[in-house]
Structures are given as C-alpha cells and as structure tokens.
Chain length 249, copies 2
DNA sequence: GGCTGAAATCTTGTATGCATGAATGGTCGC
DNA sequence: GCGACCATTCATGCATACAAGATTTCAGCC
C-alpha cells in the first residue's frame, strides 16, 4: 500500500491535529478536492488519508457523501471508554510483568514535562502529553498490537473529550499518573490496577458527565461574541458559518 | 470513502477466505493488476481492498513492493493472543452484565451447528463456526468497537492457526464453549472468566506449541507428493513454485 | 562455472478524466 | 409568504494513463 509517503503522512497528521484541537469542528465537511489542493496532492491520495482517518474514528464517511469531521455520539463515547478501561488495566499488568527500572525514569520524565506544560498554562499541550503518557505505557508492554489499539483509543478519547468534555477536562486526575508510576515501580499490580481503574473512571466522568451540550455552548459563545454585529457575521466568521451548515444537513 | 461497493466487498471476502484457508499460502504475491483482472475491477479498488486486508493483518505490504499474503511471526502471534485473551475476558464480563435469556438460545444454536460440522468431518467449517461463536459473543456485549476488535483478532488467530497450528488445531477445547455458555446462563462471572481464560490458553498452546514448523512440513508434503516428477514440477504446481519464489525473496 | 552489471519487464505511485449521484438555489404553485 | 419541484452545480466512484522504482533476465567477465 502507500505507507510512508511524506505528503500523505503530513496531511494525515495535520488533519488529525486540526480535528483534535477542534480547529475543524465536528461536522465540518472535508471535500477531497479542497484538501488535495491545500496539501498539493491529488484526490487519490486524499482518499487514502480520509480512509485512514475514518478507520481511526476521526472522520465520518458515507458512500457518495462528503466526508466530515466525526461527531462521536454519547453511546460511541461510552463504548470507547469501556474498551479503553479494559485494555489499560491489561497494560498495567503487562508492564509490571516486564518492568525495567529504565521505564520508571522515562515515565517520570514525561510526567515532569506534562506538569511543566500545565504550569505554563498550556492545557492543550498538557492534555496531549497526558495522552502520550498512556500511549508510551502501552508501548512498554512490548506488544505492538496493544500499542496500536491504545493509540487509536487515546486519539478517539481526545476527540470525545474535545466534543463532550468541559474545558480543561483533560486535567482530570493527573496526579494519578504519578501514583501509577509509583505503584508500577513498586511492582504492586493490585494497587496499580486500582489506580488505573479509578483514573479511567475520573477521565470518563469528566468527559461524559456534561450538563451543557458542547454544541449549544459553542452556539451561545458565538452569539454572545457577535451579538449586534449581525450584518458582519458572514464576513467575520465564515468558517463557523460554513460548519453550521455542514453540521445541520 | 468507498464503503459497500458490492464488487469491492466480494473481492475482500474472497481474498480473506482464500488466505484463511491457505488456498493462498503466506508469502504469495498479490499483484494489483492480476487481482483486478480476476475480479473485474481496476487497481484503484484493488488497492483499497489490499489496504483493508493489510489493516486486518492478513496482508503484508511495503511501499513500492508487491503485497503478499501475511506471514505472521511467532512474536506477532503471541501478541495477538495476548490481546485477545484480555479482551475475551472483558467480553465475558460484559455479556454477563447485559445478559438476556435469548442470548443463551442463540449461542447454543451456534454450538450445535459447530458440533454438527465437526461430526460431518468438516473441521474447516467447524473451525470457522468456532470463530464466529467468539465474534457473536463480542457482539452480544452491545459494544460495537469491542466487536470490531474481536473480529480482527479472531481473523488473525485463524491465520495464525493455519500457519503454525497442527491440523485440526481448531478443534481444541470446543467442549469449553458449552461450559462457557452454561456459566454465562448461570450468571457466574468468575466461572465464565476462568473457563474463557483456560480456553484461550488451550487454543494458544495448540496454535503455537508446534514442534514441526509449518513451512518444512508443507515442503515435505510437496516433495512427497511430487517426488520423482522433478521435471514436471513447474507445470504441475506452478502456483506453489511461484509462491516459493515469492516467499524466498 | 559463478558472479557482476545493465537492459528489459513488471508493478506500483500518483494524477487526471469521465460518469453518476448528491446538494443547492431558484422558481412556481398554493 | 411558505413549501415543494426542478435545473444547475458540486463532489464522489471508478477507470485509466504515465512516470518511477523494483525485479528479473541475460550477457559479459573474472
């Protein structure tokens, strides 16, 4: 197939980041032509990229319809968390089983970075690093397949958090990461599993237990910001306007 | 994307079956042209099919190289089983949690079919049905994602069994399926988990604890069957000859 | 006789074109 | 003034063409 063509990978990463940071809102249309023009590649390659993103759950694509940024449903979100929790627990077991002291150092290094980003007031960066912590943990099992699955799950969770979660929801229970590493170091499987299980519960609750739907919140924001400037709206926020149309459909 | 074009799906299913039944040996080249000609479709669609098969782990594809039927390594095989075991156990938990009496009837129906096939002396069919039992079980969790993962895992296990396993390895521990359903019906999570865990151990052992590498066994078969007809070999078994070349690389 | 190297051949990587099916905007009727 | 219908526009499904990179073959040489 078309593994690591630089252009293709670039487009894939760019779209992924844009989706996760909600620079592209859920429901935004992703026409092949336009993307191709932007990245300087033909629709053939764009299609491959979109297919991959669809497989990762970041893009919704139905036949004969323009692909859109995925809008995870609450049900899907729960499913993702359910699988993730199970796999995370297994990962903890496996990492302890194959533990090496160097792991502890590396993980703690990651935690320090994350903490630094948080203190710097960059919650998005901190959230991304938190995700990478979990992915790295999965890689430490030495099981490539489980790592691949976890990568997909963490990515989807990020989108879910962005869609459903409260602002700064990614901060949830980041202390537990430290506790987890301590338990791993100590080789205390039961404790580590309990921490991970609880951690997943916290993250899921923050992600899904929302009172205000993200949608209406965003709408409210927009209206508040543009109230009184009705005439200028189209010019001021063309992207958002386009997105609303795409989403409504 | 290109979801359910009938031709595409047909080709995908056909290749999948051919690979799992080892009508196409691991290492066999899969040139886009040839496949396209066979199924009456262009390389564009073949590419999509091959990409999907690659994602499922049934096809190896490196850039600029002809795709081949996957040759799982022992290490990969272990990884697959490791993930599968963890997920299967979680599936048992979830199915019990969401149990409905109708589930029992359906699962027992599947077991009867499987048993019938076995008695009819069709181990391949029985093996396929055994796989479908596990997939169905995953679907009964109501979690689509976990079902998708399990589908991939069962498929890959089938290939692994075909490559590494002894003949009839798929028969392994099929009684345990009945015991499992009984435990599920009874709502006995601990028992069901224990049975599933043990079952996975049995299947894995049968699949991987092989004394004779499948490769040399196959070679032996061929030689035995064609001994003395050296000159005629290329004509008699062109496919196999081609495969050997492809595999050696 | 086996090995090195280059031509010939086979395949894939990618772009593009045409046909077909959706989405949109405008108009007509109520 | 509002809603349904139709033409236009747009975007995708798929095939094909061409360029570039592998692979194989064959010849010449050590």
């Amino acid at each position: 197939m078309s593994r690591p063509s630089p252009r293709t990978d670039l487009a894939h990463e760019a779209l992924k980041q844009a989706i996760l940071e909600q620079a592209l809102e859920p429901g935004t249309k992703l026409p092949e032509d336009e993307i191709g023009a932007h990245f300087g590649m033909s629709r053939t390659l764009v299609r491959a990229v979109l297919a991959k993103l669809q497989a990762e759950g970041l893009v919704d694509a139905r036949p004969k319809r323009t692909a859109t940024v995925a809008q995870p449903t609450l049900a899907e979100a729960r499913e993702v968390f359910e699988v993730r929790r199970a796999l995370e627990i297994e990962i903890v077991r496996l990492v302890i089983k194959r533990w090496k002291p160097a792991f502890g150092a590396e993980l703690e290094g990651m935690l320090r970075e994350e903490e630094a980003a948080r203190r710097r007031g960059e919650p998005k960066v901190a959230g991304r690093l938190a995700g990478e912590f979990h992915i790295r943990l999965a890689q430490l099992t030495g099981n490539r397949l489980i790592a691949r699955y976890m990568e997909e799950l963490v990515t989807r969770c990020s989108l879910i958090l962005a869609v459903f979660g409260q602002p700064h929801g990614a901060d949830a229970g980041h202390d537990e990461h430290s506790e987890l590493v301590a338990a791993l170091r100590a080789g205390d499987a039961d404790a580590a599993i309990a921490i991970m299980d609880h951690h997943m519960g916290v993250v899921e609750k923050r992600a899904l237990a929302e009172e205000t739907p993200a949608e209406s919140a965003a709408l409210g924001d927009v209206l508040a910001r543009y109230a009184g400037a009705i005439g200028a709206r189209d010019a001021a926020v063309p992207l958002v306007a386009a997105q609303k149309r795409g989403r409504a459909k």
